[in-house]
């Protein structure tokens, strides 16, 4: 990403680092977090090392960690993620905690996200051709059952679309009341979408709006790169840049910017 390299030179951090910092702040101390790989993993590590030392991480393979593996992981099943874990149970053990409503926040990626925070990781599009993608994994479960979900993705007009073609992971469906009508838990649903340009949040009606734009990004740029007429918060703010401490921890964990190009 040429853009991020420029940012690193001019602003002192990359957009990925900004996203990681923003994601880390979505985790409160003591919370139980369904962690993904890559940026969310790094966000969890940053949160643990800064404002949320008591956060506990869960992984779909049954792993529960208080002291996260500090090595670079390619998958949650990499041996460093098992050694020294607090508990290695079964997938059902961690999914049970999720379904009990005990998981505070889950991080998700997506090929497509729509106006109501619904995610598609099953069918993509390229040049009007349908492309089969890998599927849900645990994402659909987290989207249904975590108290809050946070989505991270690159901001792209084709990926932030009016309605996803396939709901792999439900957000707010068609708006207010939809989740309850489907039978999903009362305390659940999307909390934020963190993109390369901005942070989106959701109103009571379940529709996304721009809550903050990243430093150096204009609202117009956000709107032009979004596939629907995106609402803007009345009190739009700028996303706080990563703090020195956050950057220090991130770079200690990822010295070669493998995750945070």
């Amino acid at each position: 990403m040429a853009r991020s390299e420029t940012d690193l030179a001019t602003q002192g951090y990359t957009f990925s680092e900004l996203m990681v910092a923003a994601a880390a702040r979505e985790i409160a101390d003591g919370e139980l977090v369904f962690v993904g790989m890559r940026l969310p993993m790094l966000a969890f590590l940053v949160a643990r090392r800064t404002h949320a030392p008591g956060a506990v991480g869960l992984f779909e393979n049954g792993v529960l960690r208080e002291n996260p593996a500090t090595e670079l992981l390619y998958t949650m099943g990499d041996p460093p993620n098992l050694r020294g874990a607090t508990q290695c149970g079964s997938m059902l053990d961690v999914m049970g905690l999720l379904q009990q409503g005990r998981v505070d926040v889950g991080f998700l990626g997506a090929a497509e996200v729509d106006r109501f925070g619904n995610l598609n990781t099953t069918w993509g599009h390229r040049n009007k051709e349908m492309q089969r993608l890998p599927g849900s994994g645990g994402a659909g479960d987290i989207a249904c059952l975590a108290r809050r979900t946070v989505v991270l993705l690159a901001h792209d007009r084709a990926r932030l679309c009016d309605r996803v073609g396939h709901i792999t992971s439900p957000g707010f469906g068609t708006g207010e009341g939809w989740r309850r009508a489907q039978g999903l838990p009362a305390a659940s649903g999307p909390s934020a979408i963190i993109t390369t340009l901005c942070v989106l949040r959701f109103g009571h009606d379940g529709e996304a709006h721009v809550a903050s734009v990243h430093p150096g990004v204009s609202v117009e740029e956000v709107l032009a790169n979004t596939g629907w007429t995106l609402r803007v918060a009345d009190e739009l703010i700028e996303t706080s840049p990563p703090s020195h401490e956050e950057l220090r921890v991130m770079r200690e964990l990822d010295p070669n910017h493998f995750w945070t190009r």
Binding site: C88, Q99, G137
Partner: protein, 307 residues
Amino acid sequence: MTAESKLLTLRDAISRHVPSGSMVLLGAQLEQMIPFAAGHEMIRQSRRDLTLVGPISDILFDQMIGAGCVSRVMAAWVGNVSAGVGYCFRRAVERSIPRRLEVVDYSNFTMALALHAGALGVPFLPTYATLGSDLLKKNGNLREFSSPVSEEKMVAVRALRPDVAILHVQRSDAQGNAHIWGSLGVAADGARAARKIIVVAEEIVEPSVIASDPNRTLVPGFLVAAVVHEPGGAHPSPVQGYYGRDHAFFAEYHEQTRRLEDFEDWLARWVVQATDRGDYWKQLGPGRVENLAVKEHALSAPADFGY
């Protein structure tokens, strides 16, 4: 009084216990201990019309689909965990190459529950997962119903009973009583849900080693049809305490299978011409194997079963 040994070669185990048309559970421990060697043997023995079952089987499902062994896949995720999509899977779904593939999409939790229902001997288990999703609409094994005790909408996940589960394990005795540690995933339920089990073990040990720690026995031998001693049989996936994940292999597979003809070359080289695991190791080269070896051992604190 000692039971008969169930030790077989991998070739014989697949030949006897995995006929074409079988429903086969693979990859129960997610990204660890994926039975690649067994999958390759199924390709070499030209199995057809298999139904592959498992939450995520990294690139093994992609390879078997590309080789034409599979008519149906029941999974939560099919691709290449560290590199992205699986091209064979895409070719099969999008263009029926090399043959038509039916995909039954699960989430991880609903797949775990389907096997758990099989293991518990019930026709279904209830969950809130997948409510509101298109998985629920399209997967006939997920059905909305009303909870008999709370009147809530719920999803009934229908039980799965695979014909055979292939489980890669750290150690097993000759009767198939096997220890698995580290990443457990859905291995315990998968073992019980299946009608029979093939155990592929890094080490064959005396029964006394297994019996020294019966809480670690994830697979009870009386459910096991065959035990195969195949060290390294999970490569390129990792086995805790035995070898690491060969990340480069997954990246290379991604690059080398993007085009159909490249996949065919890949398959010829790594599976068809490597007629057994010995050839495969030669292909891989000693330096690479060495790199994956355990650098620092970390033994569990003992538990005292004495009295």
